[in-house]
């Protein structure tokens, strides 16, 4: 099986008439995802390459039976777009948009919890289940079907690792890019819990990076609740303190969030930690 994206997934794209929305709506469909509609306020009634466009998420959901959305709208409108999706009852809300103010993210994550929706991101590459489809912007070619669940805070680094796994004959159930922002809808612990429950997933790869304490919290959770083998890579071993390394979340501040602390915590919880991203396939093979 898979988590989050499976055979029942029906996606709408919010911001479908924009450049990114259009391109990725088609790419998702080519991958085999059921892309049933799009939303751009004011452009309802039209279509993008045969995909019907609606003015509101409510209409789109009612008329297409969508249960998932992929959001590409600009940062300043993103909070409203997530609120609208959550209000319409969509169960999975994937927020690709970057540079969303963290207070906005806090609000929509909180509203989603209230209404029982799962938010992935913001500032994330999305979720791909090779057997069923992809919701987001991950390159289509690199996946293979298999039994490894992947969770990552990074985009391109995920591609690097998933690509290496597939080339080594190690396929995936689902790859979840949880996003590089400080406030995200689904963290390592929540994604780990889903993979632990998923019968199709036999092993889990997690890709972390410096900043925050999410990896340390994941380590505590793994020790108590995860029975499947976990493999990890942590980016940013050579990053100096006080410098923000691209991702808003990736900064070593006040002595917290170093790679050493994360690696130590994970190893303490029985996780095999790779020194290089390219070492992951060999670690997984070794078992």
């Amino acid at each position: 099986m898979a988590i989050m994206v499976d055979g029942s997934t029906k996606v709408i794209v919010q911001g479908i008439t924009g450049h990114q929305g259009q391109f990725h709506a088609k790419s998702m469909r080519e991958f085999g995802t059921k892309v049933v509609g799009g939303v751009t306020p004011g452009k309802g009634g039209g279509d993008v390459d045969g995909i019907p466009v609606f003015d509101t998420v409510k209409e789109a959901a009612e008329q297409t039976g969508a249960n998932t959305t992929c959001i590409f709208v600009p940062a300043r409108f993103a909070r409203d777009a997530v609120f609208e999706a959550v209000n319409a009852g969509l169960g999975l809300v994937v927020v690709i948009t970057e540079h969303i103010p963290f207070l906005d993210a806090m609000q929509f994550v909180s509203y989603a919890k209230l209404k029982g929706s799962t938010v992935i991101g913001p500032n994330c590459p999305g979720v791909t289940s090779p057997s069923f489809g992809k919701v987001g912007i991950m390159p289509s070619k690199m996946f293979a079907k298999g039994d490894v669940g992947v969770i990552s805070r990074s985009g391109t680094l995920t591609y690097e690792i998933v690509n290496a796994l597939s080339e080594n004959g190690i396929g995936q159930t689902t790859c979840v890019g949880i996003g590089g922002d400080p406030i995200i809808g689904t963290n390592f612990v929540e994604a780990l819990a889903r993979f632990e429950e998923d019968s199709g997933t036999k092993r889990i790869v997690m890709v972390g990076e410096i900043g925050g304490t999410a990896e340390e919290e994941a380590a505590d959770f793994i020790r108590e609740h995860v029975t499947k083998p976990v493999y990890a890579y942590i980016a940013g071993r050579s990053a100096p303190p006080g410098k923000r390394m691209g991702h808003a979340g990736a900064i070593i501040s006040r002595g917290r969030g170093t790679a050493e602390s994360k690696i130590k915590a994970l190893e303490g919880a029985g996780v095999s930690v790779a020194a290089l991203p390219t070492d992951i396939p060999a670690l997984v093979k070794k078992g």
Partner: protein, 366 residues
Amino acid sequence: MKLFEYRAKQLMEKYGIPIPRGVLAKSPADISGAEYPVAVKAQVLVGGRGKAGGIKFASTTDEARARSKEILSMTIKGEKVKSVLLEERLDVKRELYLSFVMDRSSRSILMMASADGGVEIENVPHERISMVQVPPFGYSQFMGRILKSTFGLGDDQGKQADALARSLYSMFVAEDCELAEINPLVVTSSGKVIAADSKITINDDSLFRHPEFSEDIDDLTPLEQRAKEEDIAFVQLDGNIGVIANGAGLTMATLDILTLNGGKAGVFLDLGGTDDPRKVTKALALMKDARPAVIFLNIFGGITKCDTVASGVKDAVETVGIDIPIVARIRGVNDDIAREILKGIGIESSTDLIEAARKAVRAAVS
């Protein structure tokens, strides 16, 4: 974006938070209006200015002018002092700590308070700090009661602390702060609760709704300024390999791989997601001016297509003229086209990350 102390205090004052009376001076000549005795405080964004001699005291105008002159000629931890804040010297009875901060783990705003103010909060034992996860709908009265007991205050000062914290929280939300810290929060001999020192960090992603902060842009080097304008993440480090990659995680992993192979990155540029070759050309021009020994280009194409990057590199080589060797590693969407483009301008690219990294390290030492 960190604000200078005087800007942080202006903002706090706007929300009704009591602050010391003060005057900002850019030269020793413009200190008129200061109240004596006075504290002369260097306006810098780095921490630890007190230990570095950036805070001095004066009782007369002549003394204040002399101290201002001394401080205005200082450089603290690499940051040139450009202005001083002359503030009335408070008659301090107690020093407390109060802040609101974004908390990733709980995905909420955290209020932190301690009776041990005036020292770095990192050095205060955990059990001496009260932490409250602010309810999603905002500040609530119980938080004031917690402050009163944490600080050990009487009714009158407890009320002052409560009102001040409520205002600080309003400011935090309305101004999109990541951190709003008062350390020390002072209780004076006459019983007033005052924000003696203030630190505010504004969330960069919120600047679209706060155009008034555009004049407060951090002190950036000219190269950093250029990078910021192009929306390129640019970080200066202390090695000699210039890294250009796409995505923060991949960029960090690239630095790690170089380090493990005996190299050291000097600059890193994260292109992020782009479909504009001109951004790549600008990144290379920026890199050229940063003068690394070698440029290591590591691209995993997705939303940023490999051929977009290659076209940008070609343009840079042909128009900007890149006189620094380039080692390229290209993978992902359209990598075959990219490799052809690069070959056309004499750059051999690899698909293997480790092999390419080693090549870059060799080029950097030779």
